[in-house]
């Protein structure tokens, strides 16, 4: 086990290095740069832009810039955002809350509603409900999120005026109710896809479990259907779902970019998009490294969970 862990850790570090190199190269080689935004600012001229590029070290060869960035990262200095001059980790942390709020609420909706749809679909296999939920899930997976979001805004904000058109809270209000009010539309839009995924997984997991020995045994023992359902079936079907939920963790960092854009949600997705479009290199690289780290941790945990849950899987 220890040997396995060390090897996996080594591989993960190697992977991080690879990700940082590829990411850095693509980002810096892409045309344009952090100074493009000033090309049209009245009063600034080519001389200023060239001086700034030199002062920021952007005119040095790429490997030199990479080495410097990587060395700083190793020593714990993630650099400062080109945009607001704050430390990158601070910038990331200050956007995490909004995204977490959105993710948590939409995941909650998705887990509750999706599980319900999935369980019911599995129990009444081939029923009308099952067919409809299958079709519904497929359609939900196929709708462009931003389009659905815009339709929501159009109907519920513009036409009916029931929901706010965006933002996380009303300035000057900021009560819990106000937060929740703003949360409804974006979390529903975001949940649409997750409900679909979740219900399909849940249905599959349930079908797997239903036909297993212990469920049949329980039924043979004459336990009430309800007890069987809750105590044996659902609980066992939920186990693999936890892993799936864990694997969704990294999406926290790139955020629900499209949903956040449509609903002007001040979270990680917005930050990522803005940082890329302003070519805020330190912030983009910071988010990239954090999200790669999360992916790796997620993978590792998932593997470990599998191993613990299923003794047939040997780790070395």
């Amino acid at each position: 086990m220890a040997r396995y862990l060390i090897r996996r850790l080594g591989q993960s570090l190697l992977l991080l290095w690879l990700v940082s190199m590829i990411g850095f190269a693509i980002l810096y080689l892409a045309p344009g740069g952090p100074l493009s935004q000033f090309a049209l600012t009245p009063g600034m001229s080519e001389a200023d832009l060239q001086r700034l590029a030199h002062q920021m070290g952007l005119d040095r060869p790429l490997p030199v810039q990479y080495a410097e960035w990587a060395w700083r990262l190793i020593t714990g200095n993630w650099g400062r955002s080109y945009r607001d001059n704050q430390p990158v980790l601070w910038v990331i942390a200050s956007h995490l809350g909004a995204t977490f709020e959105l993710m948590a609420s939409s995941t909650l909706i998705a887990v509750l509603f999706g599980s319900w749809v999935g369980i019911l679909g599995a129990l009444r296999r081939h029923s009308l409900f099952d067919a409809l939920s299958t079709v519904g899930a497929m359609v939900a997976l196929s709708i462009p999120t931003f389009w659905f979001g815009l339709v929501m805004i159009y109907i519920f904000s513009v036409e009916l005026g029931w929901l706010p058109a965006g933002s996380r809270f009303t300035l000057g209000d900021g009560s819990l109710l106000d937060y929740l009010h703003h949360l409804i539309a974006p979390s529903l839009v975001l949940a649409l896809v997750t409900i679909a995924i979740w219900s399909r997984y849940m249905r599959a997991a349930m079908l797997e479990v239903i036909n297993q020995d212990f469920v049949r045994t329980a039924r043979a023992k004459g336990l009430p259907e309800r007890v069987i359902l809750i105590r044996h079936t659902v609980r066992n079907a939920l186990l693999p779902m936890i892993t799936i939920a864990g694997l969704q963790l990294p999406t926290l960092l790139s955020g629900a970019l499209v949903t956040e854009t449509v609903f002007t949600w001040p979270g990680m997705g917005r930050l990522f998009l803005d940082s890329i479009s302003y070519r805020d290199y330190p912030t983009v690289m910071g988010i990239l490294m954090c999200s790669a780290l999360l992916v790796l941790i997620g993978n590792l945990l998932a593997d470990l969970c599998y191993a613990v849950a299923d003794p047939r899987i040997r780790l070395d």
Binding site: T41, G43, S157, S167
Partner: protein, 548 residues
């Protein structure tokens, strides 16, 4: 000596004189009520970009400048009519009052003695010296050094008087200083590296509002400065809210979540509907930004003046303005806004005349090929036009132009790119065929366009300005040099008229129209005054208040 005129008083006098015509509907409520005795209420300003840079000497975009006007003060500001109003200085130096020597080389500025920084420290001439020295500090990432790098022998004469010499006579420097906000020496002078100073995220200025709090990605809150040297502020809080989507911004304006839509304002598509909103005031403000097709004059298809003339005749400007911009912007022939004191209104007017365009091209030897596209000497009259991807109005205008120019045998293709890409090397180093672009050519109210049209300002040829169309004309070069060194307004006006005529004659750009920004405020907001010269209409939030 006369009492210094308070900035807001000065503004109000001005409103009385030229107000209505110049300022549109923003002044409608003026005079209906008086400002409150103590700061009261708040205004939420909606911005489509996020203000993130709070050191006013570092590179920034317009939204940042809108915030700076409220936290900081320059020595003098620039008013909507283009004149200057003293702020931290007692008076604006000029040849007449002796602030500037007759040769234009020695400047002497007297400062107000009643100004305090937000932390209570008095503002002195040392701060002025520190600010200009910091801009020229080789280690400091200053936004622009233009003009400041000509300052020599900067000397503090007394606590409230400063003098310096200029390397060359520079009439534009007064406009540059109107955009230069002063920073405190006692704070920024005490840190090891001003580039990463805590000040950059907790700025201390002399403006009408003090730093409150910032929620990154969402909003910025400023509070009233009770010790402001001018009149006002009348608002307790000023909030800048970041709303990246214009449709959402409009919806929030409609629902009343924001009080004022700034910078990109309201899209022309929503104008008709916005006008009908109850309790909202919509104003269409002329902007200094001139929309044009800027050709790359070194491309063989576009180097020929006949081609540019034909393209200009072939362009249905009116259709673009009427259909896409709902008739709001004003067609123009100049690179200066019609409100500029140097604007030349006698330039020849463009007509949409495809027949004439065809004739010009025939005469110039551009013959139609079998595909209907003209060519001359192996050069096909085909080129691309680029602009920021995602700018729907411009993309529609480009598509109209494809059809317009197809009729005269020119093939236009669209090659749009994201902002960070197009305005990088592609634009600066003249890699484009043509761009559709809105440019503010002058410096504040000053018509100097040396950076834009001088032959030594072409970055692709090692120049230091921003002349990517690679325009070079000896006559214009000479006039540009004269214009900068000349202080007399009448003579300057003649010089810049000459430049406008020559640029129009050469069609260095194909001017389309002067932008009009549609901004909305809630009814009852008094003091909102668009300022074409200030880069942001948040330039005077200190004198805003709600009619009671």
């Amino acid at each position: 000596m006369a009492l210094p005129v308070l900035p807001s008083l000065d503004r109000r006098t001005l409103l009385g004189v030229t107000g209505a015509a110049l300022l549109g509907t923003g002044v409608r409520a003026q005079g209906a009520s008086k400002p409150p005795a103590a700061p009261k209420g708040q205004v939420i300003v909606g911005l489509s970009q996020e203000p993130t840079r709070f050191n006013p000497l570092m590179p920034a975009i317009e939204v940042d400048q809108g915030v700076w006007w409220n936290l900081f003060s320059p020595l003098w500001g620039v008013l909507p009519d283009g004149s200057f109003n003293p702020m931290l200085a007692k008076e604006v130096p000029s040849l007449e009052n002796g602030g500037i020597s007759a040769d234009g080389l020695t400047w002497r500025v007297k400062l107000r003695d009643d100004v305090k920084w937000h932390d209570g420290t008095p503002f002195t001439a040392e701060d002025v010296k520190f600010t200009i020295d910091l801009i020229n500090n080789p280690k400091f990432r200053a936004g622009s050094r233009a003009g400041h790098d000509q300052v020599r022998d900067l000397t503090v004469v007394g606590p409230h008087e400063i003098t310096w010499k200029m390397a060359e006579a520079n009439a534009v420097y007064i406009s540059r200083l109107a955009w230069t906000f002063l920073v405190p020496r006692h704070i920024l002078g005490a840190v090891a590296d001003p580039n990463d100073a805590p000040f950059n995220n907790a700025p201390v200025g002399t403006g009408p509002f003090v730093w409150g709090e910032r929620v990154a990605g969402d909003h910025l809150l400023l509070r009233a400065n009770p010790h402001y040297f001018g009149s006002g502020p009348y608002l307790e809080r000023l909030v800048f809210k970041y709303i990246p989507d214009m449709t959402v911004m409009y919806t929030q304006f409609r629902t009343g979540e924001i009080d004022y839509t700034s910078i990109q304002g309201i899209s022309p598509d929503h104008y008709a509907e916005a006008k009908k909103l109850a309790n909202r005031v919509i104003s269409v403000n002329p902007s200094a930004s001139i929309e044009s097709i800027t050709p790359n004059l070194e491309k063989p298809q576009l180097a020929d003046r006949a081609v540019r003339e034909a393209l200009y005749y072939g362009m249905n400007k009116k259709a673009i303005i009427d259909a896409i911009y709902y008739g709001l912007p004003t067609p123009t022939e100049s690179f200066l806004p019609a409100q500029s004191w140097a604007y030349d209104s006698t330039l020849p007017k463009q007509q949409h005349d495809p027949a004439r365009a065809n004739k010009i091209l025939d005469a110039a030897g551009w013959a139609r090929g079998s595909d209907g596209i003209r060519a001359k000497g192996g050069v096909r009259l085909a080129f691309s036009d680029s602009t920021t991807a995602g700018n729907y109005a411009r993309e529609q205008a480009q598509q109209l132009l494809i059809q317009d120019w197809k009729a005269i045998g020119a093939a236009l293709t669209i090659r749009n790119m994201p902002a960070a890409v197009i305005w990088g090397d592609y634009y600066r180093l003249s890699q484009f065929d043509s761009v559709m672009i809105g440019v503010t050519f002058g410096i504040g109210s000053d018509p100097d366009v040396t950076d834009r049209f001088a032959s030594w300002a072409i970055p692709a040829k090692g120049g230091s300005g921003r002349n990517p169309s690679q325009y070079a004309n000896a006559k214009v070069d000479k006039l540009l040099r004269q214009g900068v060194a000349e202080f007399d307004p009448t003579r300057r006006k003649a010089i810049y008229a000459g430049i406008q005529q020559q640029v129009r004659e050469d069609l260095a750009i194909l001017p389309m129209f002067q932008y009009a920004t549609i901004e909305g405020t809630k009814k009852g907001l008094v003091g909102y005054t668009p300022n074409i010269n200030a880069l942001s209409n948040c330039w005077n939030c200190g004198s805003w208040y709600w009619a009671s």
